[in-house]
Symmetry: C2
Subunit: 224 residues, 2 copies
Amino acid sequence: MDRKAIAILGGTGDQGLGLALRFAKAGRPVVIGSRKADRAVTAAEKVRETISGADVSGFENAEATQKAPVVIISVPFEHTAGTVKAIRDVLAPPQIVVSMGVPLATAIGDGPMRMIGVWQGSCAELVAGLVPDGVQVVSAFQNVSAHRLQELDEAVECDVIISRPKEARGAVMELCALVPGLRAVNGGPLGNARIVEGMTALLVGLNVRYKVPEGLGLRITGLP
Amino acid sequence: MDRKAIAILGGTGDQGLGLALRFAKAGRPVVIGSRKADRAVTAAEKVRETISGADVSGFENAEATQKAPVVIISVPFEHTAGTVKAIRDVLAPPQIVVSMGVPLATAIGDGPMRMIGVWQGSCAELVAGLVPDGVQVVSAFQNVSAHRLQELDEAVECDVIISRPKEARGAVMELCALVPGLRAVNGGPLGNARIVEGMTALLVGLNVRYKVPEGLGLRITGLP
């Protein structure tokens, strides 16, 4: 396992691919995971074509999971539980799982400006309930626009509100530092993901009302 | 009723008083309401001492309500339903009620970084369920720091995410324009107050973690 590698499950989707491009551009090895290995391989090729010299590979999710100390779950919310169940046997401490999912109501055929209630409180807490003991789950990246991630020549003007556990937070803050314009903000306990995930639904609505299809972001003001 | 007047129920509290100071400074007549008339009168005097020539008066809540087309509810969450019930008989269209409350867990003796679940979904929706037919409820100002409102020489760097009804939103956007640094953002349907209210709990936590007792704010980035 390459200690610098970052696995992105669902790295074939818009937001996951955006992160893959950014991390690869910053010189980090990226492992793209997908339910189907061939889709992951194709996405990895796409990244290598865009960024010459990029160290990016593609694998089926469980195989990708075994190749990185940090595993980002970037699948549609309705596939989150299934994806985590499919990789839990190969997950082990000190690996860190990053939840970036949001329980948007698209999961039940309603719109992306609304959310569904999750028994555990948030996508991140649902994920935390499924990983093996000792594997830490951090919530991050929900509010970052997929489109702006893929505009590689521009900074992504957005704060990333990270909900910890404390020990794992640093590793994810460091990932934010790889992407120009992203700023890591210490969002407190994992339960706060309930709020941060909701902010994605609010931003989706703002994107529509203000006609900004490339996606808005947010900043906390007054931070020292 | 003075068409320019703004009633602030709970205008004796930090955030309500902050708004009273700002609106008075901008030259608008302000009517402070409280459960006890004498407390409202004292708060009004305080504003007049700070801002010479300010048109500010104090009354018991129901009397204050009758004196303005816009009535801001700025009482602690646990007093919200009681306050609205106490004024509903004197509320009538086209008056607008502004909900700025947040169901923080302080209402049940837990901390201000957490929320309690409200059957209606949010404080704003609870208020909307209690006002007479035709009175419109708008959600706004939750995330604005009381301390920064009271620092009259400085701009309050914060977006105000306003959840409508559409027809009433304009009146509240106009109130934001009275306070330097506040920017009104169209936050969509009233149900989105669930998210915006949650953001207050998140900001309270950030204030503590980042040691910014004067309060942080937030901005949506990328708006046209």
